[in-house]
Structures are given as structure tokens and as C-alpha cells.
């Protein structure tokens, strides 16, 4: 199939066919990444800017590596949103990008909708690398690629997303992507961290993490931001860990095969036990990281409009 999309801003309106196409394309890049010289000339001559207005290690490295593997010319811009005056920098940056005739922009920003705003200002393609609490589509795609490596079909597959759903862009993109692909999704969090009318997403809502583990083939743990406890979303990290932490005891009690995923970085010992995160029997967390490069290569390639056929 041909890929018509110019931007990848989120997964909310992306169809099952498109997701499958992206995942299939990523498979071919995974094969390339296994080669002794894992580099192809696909995007030679293309200029890509990585605009990171928010701290990121994993996602930024992953995009940079994907761009290098595709032979694109890249520019990196990293700053914290607090270091620039709100609202001012994005417009100015967009105009500079226009003037430099950049082909694609990868943007991470603390404001929901910032990539959508940018997409209206510039002619090139925009890839959302995480916007506020809104979406993080490439993360969800790499999660789905990792799931597909381990399970044959999304249909009927049960995924529990556990943690701060309210503030999680990873959760939203996964909810959209996984439900589109036919998986059954449960959200498990303290009631304060479940978004308003979340039931309209056609997901199961749970407040009991044992129930979530009992339900799930896959448990996706989310990072808990330390500042949420000062905002009274929950009383203490201690209580959070005791009631919502994914622990070895809980998995043993469930007595079933459960795959553990986490978008990183992990607060070890808070939302996820350290030894579980490193346990290859359960955890596919490092596979997620590896798949991230392949997914980003696929997305960059598909949005670039280059067709090999």
C-alpha cells in the first residue's frame, strides 16, 4: 500500500492498515540493523531537525540513530521549555526551519498540540516525539512491534496499562493504537490518575493491580512522576508502590505468564521491581529500545515520500 500521510502527530486517527504497514516496514529495517554495516542511503540528501524542548535521552538517541542509519543530514536542538519564553520560541523556530529548507522535523514539547501547531507553520513533515500529556505515537508503535514479536495477533490480546494514565502520552497513544488493532485494553491506576470519562475509550478501568495482572497477557507499567505526590494525586510514593507497584510477589501470586513492558526511564522499586525489569523471562524492556530504532526508521522513511517500488 502507499502511505499518504505527511505528518505523524498521533495515533488517534491512524487506521489498522496504516499501523500494520508501519510495523511491516519496521520489520525490513530490523533486518537491515542486523547487517555488519547497518546503514542504507534511503534518506541521503534529506535534512531532518530534532527539536527537543523537553529532556529526553532514549527517544532522542533513537531518532538520531534512525536518521543516521538512513543517511539523512541531521540537526539537533535541545533545550528545556522553561529556558525559553513560552510561545515565543516555537514560532521563531518554525520560521527558521522554513528558511533552512528542512525536510522533516522531529519535535518533543511539553505542550500538547505543539507538533500540530508546528505542522501548520511549516511545509515539511512533522513527527511527534511526545507532546505534553497528549501523544507519543512512535513509542506506541515500537511497543506494538515488540508485542507482535511475542504474540501472533493483536485480536483478543489483553494489555493492562498501569500507572499515571492521566498525564501519560504513552498511555494515550497505546490506547488508540492497541484498540484500533483489536486488543483488549485495561487501565489501572489510582482513581485520581484516570482521565475523565476514560470509559469512552472502550477500555476496562481498574483500581486493583492484582486484578490488572490477572486480566493481562501484557502489563505495561508507566513512569510515576515524583511531583505527582506533592500535587496530592496520591499521598506518598510509598503508598503508591504498596498498592500499584508491579512486584515479583504479585506476579508469583498470579501464577501465569505475563510480559512486562515499560517505556522508560524506570523508577526502579516504585512502579516496577528492579529485578523484574531485568528478568528476561518477563521483561521485554530492552527489546522495546531496539525496536524503537526500526520503528523510527520506518516512520521517517514512509513520511519522506520515498518509495522504493
Amino acid at each position: 500500500m502507499s502511505f499518504e500521510r505527511k505528518h505523524l502527530l498521533g495515533l488517534e486517527d491512524v487506521s489498522a492498515e496504516e499501523i500494520t504497514h508501519i510495523l511491516d516496514t519496521a520489520e525490513t529495517f530490523k533486518e537491515i540493523l542486523q547487517r555488519p554495516i547497518p546503514k542504507v542511503p534511503t534518506l541521503r540528501g534529506k535534512t531532518i531537525v530534532n527539536l527537543f524542548y523537553e529532556a529526553s535521552t532514549r527517544t532522542r538517541f533513537s531518532f538520531e540513530l534512525a536518521e543516521k542509519r538512513l543517511s539523512a543530514d541531521t540537526l539537533n536542538f535541545s533545550t528545556s521549555a522553561s529556558a525559553v519564553k513560552k510561545g515565543e520560541s516555537l514560532r521563531d523556530t518554525a520560521q527558521n526551519i522554513e528558511a533552512m529548507k528542512v525536510d522533516m522535523v522531529v519535535i518533543r514539547h511539553s505542550a500538547a498540540g505543539a507538533p500540530h501547531y508546528l505542522a501548520q507553520c511549516i511545509k515539511g513533515s512533522v513527527i511527534n516525539a511526545g507532546d505534553g500529556c497528549h501523544e507519543h505515537p512512535t513509542q506506541a508503535l515500537l511497543d506494538m512491534l515488540t508485542i507482535r514479536d511475542n504474540y501472533k495477533d493483536f485480536k483478543g490480546l489483553r494489555v493492562a496499562i498501569v500507572g499515571d494514565i492521566l498525564h501519560s502520552r504513552v498511555a494515550r497513544s497505546n490506547i488508540y493504537g492497541l484498540t484500533t488493532m483489536g486488543a483488549e485494553v485495561a487501565l489501572c491506576a489510582p482513581q485520581t490518575l484516570i482521565p475523565y470519562e476514560a470509559e469512552k475509550w472502550n477500555v476496562r478501568l481498574l483500581n486493583d493491580v492484582d486484578e490488572a495482572i490477572g486480566f493481562a497477557d501484557i502489563v505495561m507499567a508507566l513512569r510515576i512522576q515524583m511531583e505527582r505526590q506533592t500535587q496530592n494525586f496520591f499521598p506518598t510514593l510509598r503508598e503508591y508502590h504498596n498498592f500499584f507497584g508491579i512486584t515479583r510477589e504479585r506476579l508469583d501470586r498470579a501464577n501465569k505468564k505475563v510480559t512486562i513492558m515499560h517505556p522508560g526511564p524506570i523508577n526502579r522499586g516504585i512502579e516496577l521491581d528492579s529485578d523484574l525489569a531485568d528478568d528476561e523471562h518477563h521483561s521485554v524492556i530492552l527489546n522495546q529500545v531496539t525496536n524503537g530504532v526500526a520503528i523510527r526508521m520506518a516512520v521517517l522513511y514512509l513520511l519522506s515520500g520515498e518509495t522504493q517500488e
Partner: protein, 449 residues
């Protein structure tokens, strides 16, 4: 000690007096007159001589007339409309709007008067600023009635000198932009202001419940990951304010009501005889929170655009009289501030020039309200709320008139607006009605000229 504020150097004032014509001898020919008392007269001639209504008589066809003839066939003539909730940014942000540019925006929208909210810089909380505003707009076609702050610098801590401000010309008090959080202070304000028969206008919003909020809390905010401003943040303050008004016998006016719960609370309070009135804006009965999916900051205002059920409740409230007035909450913002990612942009949109068209589109043409009802909500009721006499279309009265074309379709073009700011979500909309002319203070203005 009085110190007169100096007029700041405002350059390039779009509107000079030259478009205002003296209404020495004007005939509004073959007009449909809609009065404040619900009567409607078709095919009448109104003669305006030296700014006053000289004669009103059934239209007589063509006969010699030495003055200017304004053919009002198919047009409606209202007593001058007032918008009792506008933000003109003077003093402080003359780059966004001045008193005079705001006035011209109002005139273009068919209004002859407006009440300016006190969140100027410095805040309108003292005699000097009230007098500055009145002096600046003296003898202007568009009458400005200043609303003063309830508390000093709108800080919610200390009452302003209400008696002096009323004496200076303030017509109401409001800390618009936020509620008076301290219930005791609001109680005092309601009691103290009773002495002057002026309303306390409350922007009802619990500041804690909307922390981090950019839009209405609902499924759309959940989808977009934007901070939610729940409807109950408005409801809890409306409930408190109504209780305080009932207890004190004070006069409370609920600004820009936007939720189902608040409308119901006001409805019940009115049934109980509480001295409460309420207003709603065109955008709150026209748009829903679905519009925010575009992440266009022209859909960002406070109160936020609500979901369908709240919009329906506002329309129902307008229909059954729970909501007394229609106001625009005209809130100009500079392009530099508004043109940004959603959460970084300030709240507010302009409204004066699109109000009549939206009212026709959303309320009159679908048969929800009649133009007679609209005149009540944009003339008689607001003046009554402010304790002022509403203009009347009567022989011997000052000609304070709004002439509108109820079938004059036009396309909204933000670049052609009279306001200094362009932050409207209605750019490109085709609206079914428009203002044609306004008369007031011995002057008139033809909107299309």
C-alpha cells in the same frame, strides 16, 4: 488629591471622528421598529433632528425631505444595544485595544454602549482611572460605562472605595478574570454595594479546581491530554455566591454563565426570589469543546467552551429567561501572545463584531428567540441590571438606535475588523445578519461605509 491620567501616545488610531456624522436631520425610512416593551411596528418612518427623535409616523411613500434619507426597508431598528461585558485594554495594553478602537468595534457590531471590565493596567480600582475612561469617551457615539474592581488591584484582599467609584461613574463592580475567593470579603461587597444599587458581577470559578487547566474537562480534554477545567469549578462558586446573595439581600450578577449546573442553580435561586441575574456569550451557545481538537488558541477562553449538554443548557436558560443578558466578553489579545501552542496562549477572543450574526444564526433563525427577545437581552435587561434607564424609541428622546439587517449575510474577515486584535475563531464564517447603522449622542455611523 486628584491626578489626571495622561493619555498615552497611541499612534495610528484607525478611527478618527470623521466617519461619525452629525445627526442633524435624518430620516430612517420604512423601518421595522422593535421596542423594549415587546411591541413591533412595521413600515414606520423615524425622523431624527439634531440627535433627537423628532417624529415617528407610518411610512408615507416618497415625499420631499431636505435631510439625509436612510432606506430601512427590511431593516430592524432597535433601541441602542449595550454589551455589558467587554475588555478594552486601555490603560495598559493599547497595542491590543484602545477605548476608541474598542468603541469602533462595538459600533461596527451594532452596539451603542459597552461596560468595560476593570482588568486594565493599572486596574480600574480608583477614581482617576474611571474619570480617565469617561473623559476619553466623552461625547463619543459609543457610550462607555466603566465597571470597577471589587478589590484593590483585583487581589481579593481589600475592598475598593465603592462610594467614591460610584460617584466617579462606575456602574458595577467585578474582579472579572477571577472570583473573590474570600467568602467574607464577597459578603461585605454584596452588603456594601447595596447602598448604591449596583450589581456585584462575579466571574465564577474555583481557582483550585482549575489548576493547570486549559479547556473544559471532558472526554475531549482526556483525548488531547490538555488540563481540564471542570464545569463544577463554576458551579461551586455560583452556588456559594447565590447563598451569599440570598443571605445578604445583595445584588449578584453571574458573568458569562457556561454550565448546566450553574444555569439550574440560577433558575432555582430566581424562583426563590434571590436578587440574581446572569449573562451568556455567543461563543458559549455556538461552539463546543470539540473545536479544541484543532489546538487553535482562538478556541481558548475562560470559561472554556463546554460540551454539548452545557451548550444546550445555556440555550435553554436564554429561552426561559434564566439568563437575562447576552454579552460578548470581548477580549482582544495580540497576535504574538495568541499565536502559540495552546497551553501558552492567553484566554479570550474578540466578540463585538460577530455577536449579532451569531445570535441570528444560533438563536433567532432557528426560532429559539425572537428579535424582540434579543432586544430585551441586549438593551432593556442589561440597563436594568445596571440600574440605568434603557434607551427608548420615543418622540423627544435622544436618538440612541441600532439599525440591523436581519438578512444581511456577510463573511467574517478578521483582517477587516475594527478591533485592533484578530483573535476570533469565526474567521471565514458566513453569518446571516449584520449591523447597518448606529445612532447615539447626536451622531450616527453607517457601518458599511
Amino acid at each position: 488629591m486628584k491626578k489626571k491620567l495622561q493619555k498615552s501616545h497611541v499612534i495610528g488610531e484607525k478611527m478618527s471622528g470623521d466617519k461619525f456624522i452629525k445627526s442633524k436631520n435624518v430620516l430612517l425610512k420604512n423601518a421595522t421598529i422593535i421596542e423594549n416593551g415587546y411591541s413591533e411596528k412595521e413600515k414606520w418612518d423615524i425622523f431624527v433632528v439634531n440627535g433627537k427623535i423628532d417624529t415617528i409616523s407610518p411610512a408615507k411613500g416618497s415625499q420631499p425631505f431636505s435631510g439625509t434619507v436612510l432606506d430601512c426597508t427590511g431593516k430592524l431598528v432597535f433601541p441602542g444595544l449595550i454589551d455589558m461585558h467587554v475588555h478594552f485594554r486601555e490603560p495598559g495594553r493599547e497595542d491590543e485595544e484602545t477605548l476608541k478602537s474598542g468603541a469602533l468595534s462595538g459600533i461596527a457590531g451594532g452596539f451603542t454602549a459597552g461596560c468595560t471590565m476593570p482588568n486594565t493596567n493599572p486596574v480600574t480600582d480608583n477614581r482617576e482611572i474611571v474619570e480617565f475612561i469617561l473623559e476619553e469617551m466623552k461625547n463619543h457615539l459609543f457610550s462607555v460605562f466603566p465597571i470597577a474592581a471589587i478589590t484593590k488591584d483585583q487581589q481579593g484582599e481589600k475592598l475598593v472605595e465603592m462610594a467614591e467609584l460610584v460617584d466617579a461613574g462606575a456602574v458595577a463592580f467585578s474582579d472579572d478574570g477571577k472570583s473573590v475567593a474570600n467568602s467574607l470579603l464577597l459578603r461585605r461587597a454584596l452588603e456594601y454595594s447595596k447602598m448604591f444599587n449596583v450589581p456585584i458581577i462575579e466571574h465564577c470559578e474555583d481557582a483550585n479546581l482549575v489548576v493547570g487547566g486549559d479547556m473544559h474537562e471532558g472526554f475531549v480534554s482526556s483525548n488531547l491530554g490538555l488540563g481540564g477545567m471542570p464545569a463544577i469549578a463554576e458551579d461551586v462558586i455560583v452556588a456559594r455566591d447565590l447563598m451569599l446573595a440570598e443571605y445578604t439581600g445583595g445584588k449578584i450578577h453571574i458573568a458569562h454563565i457556561s454550565t448546566k449546573g450553574s444555569v439550574e442553580l440560577v433558575r432555582r435561586a430566581k424562583d426563590k426570589g434571590v436578587d440574581v441575574t446572569a449573562e451568556a456569550t455567543p461563543h458559549h451557545f455556538t461552539l463546543t469543546d470539540e473545536a479544541v481538537r484543532s489546538f487553535d488558541s482562538n478556541y481558548k477562553m475562560n470559561p472554556p467552551l463546554r460540551s454539548e449538554e452545557h451548550v444546550e443548557a445555556v440555550i435553554q436558560g436564554l429561552k426561559d429567561g434564566t439568563i437575562d443578558a447576552i454579552v460578548t466578553d470581548h477580549a482582544p489579545h495580540s497576535i504574538e501572545e495568541k499565536d502559540a501552542e495552546f497551553s501558552a496562549a492567553p484566554f479570550g477572543i474578540t466578540g463585538l463584531e460577530t455577536a449579532l450574526g451569531l445570535i441570528a444564526r444560533q438563536l433567532v433563525n432557528p426560532g429559539i428567540l425572537t428579535w424582540q427577545d434579543i432586544v430585551q437581552k441586549m438593551c432593556k435587561n442589561p440597563y436594568q441590571i445596571l440600574g440605568m434607564e434603557a434607551p427608548q424609541i420615543k418622540v423627544g428622546e435622544v436618538a440612541n438606535l441600532s439599525v440591523i439587517d436581519p438578512a444581511g449575510e456577510w463573511e467574517v474577515d478578521k483582517f477587516k475588523m475594527k478591533s485592533r486584535s484578530r483573535n476570533t475563531p469565526f474567521h471565514g464564517w458566513k453569518l446571516p445578519a449584520r449591523a447597518v447603522a448606529v445612532f447615539n449622542n447626536g451622531l450616527y455611523y453607517l457601518v458599511d461605509d
